[in-house]
């Protein structure tokens, strides 16, 4: 009847998600929203992993997703901690205001 849903469709979807996340990271100035865009990209990667695991028949793809999630969690914790420390001092700062490397 209709074609089966191939893993490549998931790969395309993941690519699209990644692109959107990357665009958002570059365009948004609010640090927290930038962080959320990073999460989008990570999810795109996870989706890719699982799709390829299905295509190649290898469970290691799914294990990789597991680890990505753990690391993402740790990263969010630390990142938000840093953001809290910074924004406590300078409330309302955007990514552009945190430009200590200038010059």
């Amino acid at each position: 009847m209709i074609a089966a849903i191939e893993p490549s469709w998931y790969l395309l979807l993941a690519a699209l998600l990644f692109g959107i996340g990357a665009f958002g990271l570059l365009v948004r100035r609010n640090p927290l929203v930038m962080f959320m865009c990073i999460e989008l990209m990570l999810n795109a990667a996870n989706l890719t992993f699982v799709a390829l695991a299905t295509q190649l028949g290898d469970i290691n793809g799914q294990t990789a997703v597991f680890f990505v999630m753990v690391v993402a969690a740790a990263e969010v914790v630390v990142g938000l901690g840093i953001l809290v420390s910074i924004l406590r001092r300078r409330p309302g700062a955007t990514a552009d205001d945190l430009a200590e490397l200038k010059g």
């Binding site: 990357a22 570059l26 100035r29």
Partner: protein, 657 residues
């Protein structure tokens, strides 16, 4: 027996080590006797090896004794090996014998000196180094000995180091030798690069078989000539030898007359196939260096007033003869003259030492005179030496000098002319010396009246080495000093017998003859003169040489004894043609400027480049850092673009599309 050749350096080395540890306790004179015994022991070993070699057929007169592998580095394999062949054993024989006699003389001469044992320490070290030099199987062992004798020369010249002039003379000798050593080192490197070995057998064989390119052979020869010029005091590096007279007289006799200065001549003889394989202008250069040095030094000698300085310049001149002989391919003649010169020059120096000793350290000949009544033995032996060096038959010097002149004429007439003129001058200045010292009127009576010490003693070490005499009277030396003189005089007198020319019915050939003995070593390089005009007119040349000698003597007699002619001693000669002053001026002015320029270059250009690089990096980094915007999102954007480019490369260029 020849396998025991390693004993020859071993004895003096053992002497050196013994004196090093217990010399002070042995003291005067036991340390001296020990040192002498060590040297004579080497002589006995050398003599037995000589007899051994004599018993073999000519082609087999060569033994190599390898002690151990010294430098095993990849393709460079150098062993510490000794080569016992006719040339080296001959050198060992006369070096150790004459060296031993001089040691004996020194026991008497240095009696009372506070550093007595140290003197023999250095002397033994010197004999050890010299035996290494001549017995070396390859350039590196020879170089080891070469450096060793240079060092000992420095130590011994500056023996009375509290005297400023002695210390300076020692340094001068060392530095000048070093310049020569540079030449030897480059020759060694070149030898390794060309034939892959520093061993004489390999080097000479490649030269004989034509494997060695003429350009390489020439380069090696010229470099070794530079080394020889330094060690054997030829132009332009002779300047250290006259100053070296600051050392004690036995030192002058041993090192600067009989042995060390012959090192350069020995080395050139060793590599005679290489010389033969080089371009034609190379031996000609060697010959002219020798000839001009001989003449140059002879002119200076006739204007000197210090008894030892005359002999020093005389040495330079006589070695010039040897180098001239090498340049004309007369290797046998060069070695012959080396041996005879060793005997009579050592004799003359020791005789001078005896005179100095008897005159209570006075060295100025103008304050001597009529000494033959007071020092009969010294005078008699000195006269024998004088006749030998002047070239009066039947003394040894005549035979050796005549050989050299023969080959010189066979090579080129100008060389012969220079040689003859130098012979005349030699006879002249030696006659002058003999007359000033032993004949004529006594000039030293003024010393007796004034009771003042001779000016030489002012710079002497504080300890007076002789008892003060109530009345100044020259005296003969003790037996321990005149016995070596007598022995040497005997050698100087009959030494010619080792290579009598085939004249007047003396047959050619005969294994005792030096020419036959050295034949296997020099056969490739020895010049063949049997067809030349010079050879055919040998008798004429003999007569001419004798005439030159007697003429010089007569001239000297007329000027200095009979006072018929005015003495001609121009300041130019007395000041050594201002050679030393020229060098000093050069080093002080253009030389100094050159050194300063190099230092400046190093500081500004080299250091500047290094520092400049650092400065440039710092500048660039500062500039780059000022360009930073600080915006994280911009950085992320650039990273993103990089990712796209990378992906693009993989997908488009490498891969899939």
């Amino acid at each position: 027996m020849a396998d025991l050749v390693w004993l020859i350096p071993a004895f003096p080395l053992a002497g050196f080590l013994t004196i090093l540890f217990v010399g002070r306790r042995l003291g005067d004179p036991k340390a001296g006797y020990l040192a002498t015994a060590a040297v004579f022991a080497s002589f006995l070993v050398g003599a037995s090896i000589y007899i051994d070699l004599l018993g073999r057929p000519e082609e087999e007169r060569e033994t190599v004794v390898t002690l151990f592998s010294w430098v095993p580095v990849g393709t460079l394999q150098i062993d510490l090996a000794f080569l016992a062949d006719p040339l080296s054993i001959l050198m060992v024989l006369f070096v150790t014998f004459i060296g031993g006699l001089i040691h004996l003389f020194a026991v008497g001469y240095m009696h009372g000196d506070p550093k007595f044992s140290k003197f023999f320490l250095y002397l033994n070290l010197f004999v050890f180094s010299m035996t290494l030099l001549v017995l070396g199987e390859n350039l590196l062992v020879t170089f080891l000995g070469w450096e060793g004798v240079g060092t000992c020369s420095y130590l011994l010249i500056a023996f009375w180091h509290t005297r400023e002039s002695a210390a300076t003379a020692g340094k001068k000798a060392f530095v000048t030798n070093r310049v020569g050593d540079w030449g030897v080192m480059l020759a060694m490197f070149l030898s390794f690069q060309a034939v892959g070995s520093m061993s004489y057998s390999v080097l000479n064989e490649s030269a004989e078989t034509g494997m060695l390119a003429a350009s390489t052979a020439s380069a090696i020869t010229i470099l070794l000539l530079v080394g020889a010029a330094g060690k054997s005091a030829q132009l332009p590096l002779y300047i250290w030898l006259p100053d070296a007279m600051e050392g004690p007289t036995p030192v002058s006799a041993l090192i600067h007359a009989a042995t060390m200065v012959t090192g350069g001549v020995f080395l050139l003889t060793r590599i005679n196939p290489v010389i033969a394989a080089s371009y034609d202008w190379v031996p000609t250069t060697i010959a002219w260096v020798g000839a001009i040095t001989a003449l140059f030094a002879a002119t200076i000698a006739l204007a000197q007033n210090d008894i030892k300085k005359v002999l020093a310049y005389s040495t330079v001149s006589q070695i010039g003869y040897m180098v001239l002989a090498i340049g004309t391919g007369a290797y046998v003649a060069a070695i012959f003259h080396m041996v005879t010169h060793a005997a009579f020059k050592a004799l003359l120096f020791l005789g001078a030492g005896s005179v100095i000793h008897g005159m209570h350290e006075e060295q100025d000949m103008r304050k001597m005179g009529a000494l033959r009544a007071f020092m009969p033995i010294t005078a008699a032996t000195f006269i024998v030496g004088w006749l030998a060096i002047a070239g009066v038959p039947p003394f040894s010097g005549f035979f050796s000098k005549d050989e050299i002149l023969l080959f010189a004429l066979a090579d080129s007439v100008p060389l012969y002319v220079v040689g003859i003129i130098t012979a005349v001058l030699t006879a002249f200045y030696m006659t002058r010396q003999v007359i000033m010292v032993f004949f004529g009127k006594a000039q030293w009576t003024s010393l007796a009246n004034e009771e003042e010490a001779p000016e030489v003693a002012e710079g002497e070490p504080p300890v007076e080495t002789h008892d003060a005499h109530g009345e100044f009277k020259p005296h003969e030396s003790p037996p321990i000093m005149w016995i070596p003189l007598v022995v040497l005089a005997g050698l100087a007198a009959i030494g010619g017998i080792i290579n009598l020319p085939s004249l007047f019915g003396i047959p050619e050939g005969g294994t005792y003859r030096l020419e036959e003995w050295l034949h296997p070593v020099v056969e490739f390089g020895e010049a063949e003169i049997s067809g030349t005009w010079a050879y055919d007119n040998k008798y004429l040349l003999v007569a001419f040489a004798v005439a030159a000698a007697l003429g010089g003597i007569a001239l000297g007699w007329a000027v200095y004894l009979k006072k018929r002619l005015k003495p001609w001693e121009p300041t130019l000669f007395a000041k050594g043609w201002y050679y030393d002053q020229a060098i000093t001026w050069f080093m002080g002015n253009p030389g100094r400027k050159g050194f300063d320029d190099v230092a400046d270059f190093d500081q500004h250009v080299v250091d500047g480049a290094v520092n400049g690089v650092a400065l440039a990096v710092k500048e660039t980094a500062t500039q780059a850092s000022e360009r930073q915007s600080g915006y994280v999102r911009r950085y992320a954007g650039v990273i993103g673009i990089g990712v796209v480019l990378l992906l693009g490369w993989f997908v488009v260029i490498r891969g899939i599309l």
